[in-house]
């Protein structure tokens, strides 16, 4: 997998910490591998919306990558609940179902962005940089691909 110039937290230069929420173990592993290529760190994982909320409280990640269609509690509802308690939460919805109503509902629920599956690493990388804004810095490491 392509290596990207690491994205760090501006405040302390530490790796960006991610919470990955998806009911598919396979999808979580894939996203975790992408995060690694962005120089990020996996703070936690969850397989449904309920667990995502408790994992958010436990790990306080910099970014949440959240699937939509999940058992127990779907991603949009989980995102709403997280943002209600933590308005600063940065949640990126990652779903194969990308029709307009879904995207609008996710953004109205407090998500910052939407990425459609199958995820292209270069697209997710750009979205992460955009969502972090000034709170993220691209470290131009030697040998970085992008």
């Amino acid at each position: 997998m392509e290596q990207f110039a690491p994205v760090r937290r501006s405040k302390d230069g530490q790796p960006v910490r991610y919470l990955v929420v998806d009911d598919s173990v396979f999808a979580r592993k894939n996203l975790a591998r992408m995060i690694e290529t962005f120089g990020g760190q996996l703070a936690g994982e969850a397989g449904d919306g309920m667990t995502a909320i408790t994992e958010y409280e436990r790990t306080h990640p910099d970014i949440v990558l959240m699937d939509i269609t999940m058992p127990q509690m779907e991603g949009i509802e989980a995102a709403e609940k997280i943002v209600r308690s933590h308005p600063e939460a940065r949640i990126v919805m990652v779903s194969s179902v990308g029709y307009q109503e879904n995207i609008v509902a996710a953004l109205q629920g407090g998500a910052r962005h939407f990425v459609q599956k199958p995820v292209k690493p270069e697209v997710l990388y750009e979205v992460i940089k955009y969502v972090l804004g000034e709170d993220g810095t691209v470290a131009h490491a030697a040998g970085a691909g992008v």
């Binding site: 999808a27 194969s96 459609q116 292209k120």
Partner: protein, 166 residues
């Protein structure tokens, strides 16, 4: 079964497989399944409810499933591994999600249920209403079979017609 319902699924499967395998795919065959469904290997089943209802099954022989999982994950995966089954489910999820997105933009509304592994060797035979279409995608990893049985939800169609007639 109307081709207008099927085409978005064919387009989506083609796009997802081509992107994940980084290689073009082609349609090897397209057949109506008259007999009861017989599982070929690792199979993922997704139910769709709403304006259109039915089910879609992705079915791959174990070797193909292993090679696709390896492509998707960028690492070797043993054929028996749970990740292989997860990869087939995720492939189904991505394909159906993309197809539903296209159909939703045409005005159809659905609920997609999370994919489940189809473990039974046989499935119910299609009826006139829910005849199954089997599409074989030839990929560099092997053949991927997509078995689709969908129909318009008549009750929802009636409701839509009534609203339109008001």
């Amino acid at each position: 079964m109307k081709m207008e319902l099927i085409q978005p699924f064919i387009n989506a499967a083609d796009a997802v497989l081509a992107q994940e395998l980084e290689s073009p795919t082609s349609i090897g065959s397209l057949t109506m399944e008259e007999e009861a469904y017989r599982r070929k290997g690792v199979a993922a089943l997704v139910w769709v409810t709403g304006d259109i209802e039915g089910r879609i099954i992705f079915d791959l022989d174990p070797g193909t499933a292993g090679r696709i999982a390896a492509h998707f994950s960028g690492t070797e995966v043993p054929e028996s591994d749970e990740l292989v089954r997860e990869a087939v489910c995720e492939m189904a999820n991505q394909t159906i999600g993309n197809a539903i997105t296209a159909l939703n933009d045409q005005g159809f509304h659905f609920r997609v249920h999370p994919p489940v592994l189809h473990t039974a060797d046989h499935g119910p035979r299609g009826s006139e209403d829910t005849e199954a279409l089997v599409i074989c995608f030839e990929t560099i990893a092997g053949n991927v079979f997509m078995n689709i049985a969908l129909r318009y939800n008549r009750r929802r169609q009636g409701e839509r017609a009534a609203v339109a007639g008001e």
